[in-house]
């Protein structure tokens, strides 16, 4: 198995994601955006500040040629995971509905949050599980046409919500003002997931949580079953 980890100028969680995957015994190759995407089993777009967040977070990276290859991989049914800036790039590429924009309190937030897995997703084998993951972003407020929201729930496209310790998506548990506490959203086919929290930063006991591993493990199981 070989998973591509995309690198743009300004990506900075690429090595962390690779280490998290390697710790699980999964092969992962770093792919610079000017290179061609070979026959990979899946792709992860890691966090960072691609192109200095110029214009809008993820906007420039989304228009690079390699993202056309990612769109093709997505159309082929391969799993694509975008984390933080990667999530912003996926939304700017229109591979997931909605967009991530400036936090309600317009500052960078870096903290641990609780998330509940909502819809069924290849990236979360458990539904209604509560996981601890950190967030680190300034543009993470999820926005989508409210008329589309019902459809997103009906289609199981809402994957993660910010919740309190009892699993309730309260106002206080919403760190950035995301619509309906949404922290992760997938495409209709479910093989593309854009999430603001960082699973790779919760992939070793030393880091305070290993809950992030479940996401990578689910992705790997999904690939094996393809």
């Amino acid at each position: 198995m070989n998973i591509a980890i995309l690198r743009f100028g300004g990506s900075n969680c690429d090595l962390d994601v690779q280490k998290a995957l390697n710790n699980l015994g999964v092969g992962a190759e770093l792919v610079w955006y000017k290179e061609t995407l070979k026959n990979y089993d899946g792709a992860i777009i890691p966090g960072g500040f691609s192109y200095g967040d110029y214009l809008r977070a993820g906007a420039i990276a989304a228009r690079t040629k390699i993202m056309q290859s990612v769109a093709q991989m997505a159309a082929d049914g391969k799993p694509i995971l975008g984390i933080c800036n990667g999530a912003q790039i996926l939304s700017e590429s229109h591979l997931v509905p909605g967009t991530f924009t400036l936090n309600q309190y317009p500052k960078f937030i870096c903290k641990w949050v609780k998330l509940r897995t909502v819809g069924k997703s290849p990236f979360t084998d458990l539904t209604n599980a509560i996981v601890d993951l950190p967030i680190a972003h300034k543009e993470g407020r999820y926005v989508v046409d409210p008329l589309l929201l019902k459809e997103l729930y009906e289609n199981d496209q809402v994957v993660f919500k910010y919740v309190d310790e009892n699993g309730r998506p309260t106002l206080a548990a919403n760190p950035n003002g995301s619509l309906d506490n949404i922290a992760g959203i997938s495409n209709l086919e479910k093989n593309v997931l854009a999430m603001m929290p960082h699973p790779e930063r919760a992939s070793e006991k030393l880091l305070g949580s290993t809950d992030g591993d479940a996401i990578f493990e689910s992705m790997v199981r999904y690939i094996k079953a393809l």
């Binding site: 214009l55 809008r56 906007a59 228009r63 700017e92 909605g98 967009t99 924009t101 400036l102 936090n103 309600q104 309190y105 317009p106 407020r141 926005v143 989508v144 046409d145 003002g177």
Partner: protein, 98 residues
């Protein structure tokens, strides 16, 4: 027949002023912060909106094609259609024979 020189085909220099702003009703946390800061200075505003402006110069064969080009730029990169509206003002800068 191939025309080596066709004086009827001309390219013009156009200037576009593009304003990208959040759609009505969209939360604008930066503008809210600015509104509060103005209030601290004694300026009470009913509303404050923030927008980005781009000024571009480019050549096009006609005003219609200049408009098409700018709309393409806005829809494909400069604006995010989920959250933004945009206004465009195009002016002809000069005439040059191609």
């Amino acid at each position: 027949m191939f025309n080596y020189y066709n004086p009827t085909v001309t390219a013009m220099l156009y200037r576009a002023e593009i304003t990208i702003k959040l759609k009505n009703g969209m939360l604008d946390p930066e503008a809210t912060t600015i509104k509060n800061a103005l209030k601290h200075l004694g300026y009470e505003c009913q509303s404050v909106k923030q927008a980005a402006t781009y000024e571009l110069e480019f050549t096009a064969d006609s005003r219609a094609s200049a408009t098409d080009l700018v709309n393409g730029m806005c829809q494909r990169l400069l604006a995010n259609p989920i959250i933004h509206d945009y206004d465009v003002r195009i002016t002809e800068q000069s005439r040059r024979d191609r």
